[in-house]
Amino acid sequence: MAGHSPPPFFKRGPAPLAKLVFFVTVSLAMLVSDLNMRYLDGFRQGLSVLAYPLQMAAASPADFVRNASDYFASLVRLQIENKDLKARQLKGAERLLRLDQLEQENRHLRALLEAREKQSVKSVVAEIMYTAKDPFSRKVILDKGAQAGIEAGQAVVDDIGVIGQITRVFPMQSELTLLTDKDQAIPVMIVRSGMRAVLFGSGNGLMELRYLAANADVQAGDRVVTSGLDGVFLAGLPVATVARVERDQAQAFARIPCLPAAGVERFSHVLVLGHQETLMSRPVEPEPVAGKPAKGRKARAAKE
């Protein structure tokens, strides 16, 4: 009897275990390539087009709640806020008036120095819509995306200081990774001593200055600002204050937890800064001194 197959109600496709192994392998491969190599951003963009309408619909209850609470905000609170804003505007007006004059002066001085002019930074005001649901990271979703000219890698500040960096851009919204996200790094400078360092998010709502020697000149209360060395963040934006310094003789580095300066974990309006001017190209490496025996591949390449 040829072609004797089981009746159709026993048909289940490939064996469940085979299917399981296949799909587990695929998901693990996706995880590795997404987390380590960022290969799948195009794929994510494609699928996010599918998910976007559903996402928007799901976000609307949150929108509604937010708007309703705004609507019922008490008159008193608004009056207080209004007074506060007026006071701040007055305080700012004086500095703003001087800013014009300073900018003018700066331009002249730069021209004198033949330095390249700093491009004026184009920035976009955006609103934080909601916190991303992923409990393993600290990310928020902004209401402006590629259509407003936002690009991945841009710095985001609020009225007090830096709060994070854009990590993914969708057509109508973008994902902002907060500075307190674990291992989110930012090059900084300590204002008092002028020492440069790298500030990392430590995950528990705080940040940490890593790789500073145990005898480094840091004190509790020191203000930490961006150093601008990365070409992403403008120099001099407030980032954090040093909370305390724990020097342990057994370890080479001090443990220095810092408190974020800006309202990193609060909901408000933020400013997405445009890219800083492109960094100067690396200086040309000096020619190997004649007479000294050249060694290594680099020297051979230079000779040819």
């Binding site: 289940r12 469940p16 299917k19 399981l20 799909f23 587990v24 695929v26 998901s27 693990l28 491969a29 996706m30 995880l31 997404d34 987390l35 380590n36 799948l40 794929f43 994510r44 699928l47 996010s48 599918l50 998910a51 559903l54 996402q55 619909a57 799901a58 976000a59 209850p61 949150a62 819509m129 909601y130 916190t131 991303a132 649901k133 992923d134 409990p135 393993f136 990271s137 990310k139 979703i141 993914r168 994902e175 674990k182 291992d183 995950g203 528990n204």
Partner: protein, 173 residues
Amino acid sequence: MQPTHSSRRILLPVRMWFVYTTLGLALFLNYVPTGHLPGVPDVVALVLAFWCVREPVKIGIGAGFLFGLLTDIGVGAALGQHALAYVLLAYAANELSRRVLWFTPVEQALHVLPLLFMSQVVMVVVRLLAGAEFPGWWMFFGSFVGALLWIPLHYVLLLPQYQPVERDENRPI
């Protein structure tokens, strides 16, 4: 009387469009931005487990993978994180289906709790290996809430399959 599935009612066959509609609705609920609120259940995992237990021949690992990917994208997780968890969940639910269906809804919920818990543990392990921060123990509270939701869900999702109880006075048996 012969032992039957404990619902003790003969159900109409399931309609596949209803299965996928409920999964889509669950996806919508998962997309609602609740932030890091503790105790929010993973509704897609729950509905997926339900259909994998109820219809092990029709719904399984493939659907788990697809809806896992869609969840990953919606909630901003690592791509493949929910997919992996749901694939394992769907497999386990399919395998357990012949046992679970003999129990009452409350007892079924006790069977589903370890499944939901396992899917969360898988996600935590994967992300911690990749170097993320541990979100805290409150996160696992979600699977307990999910198991509690199984009891009402059991009635709601089977509603279209119930048929009116026909009382025929003259029926011989």
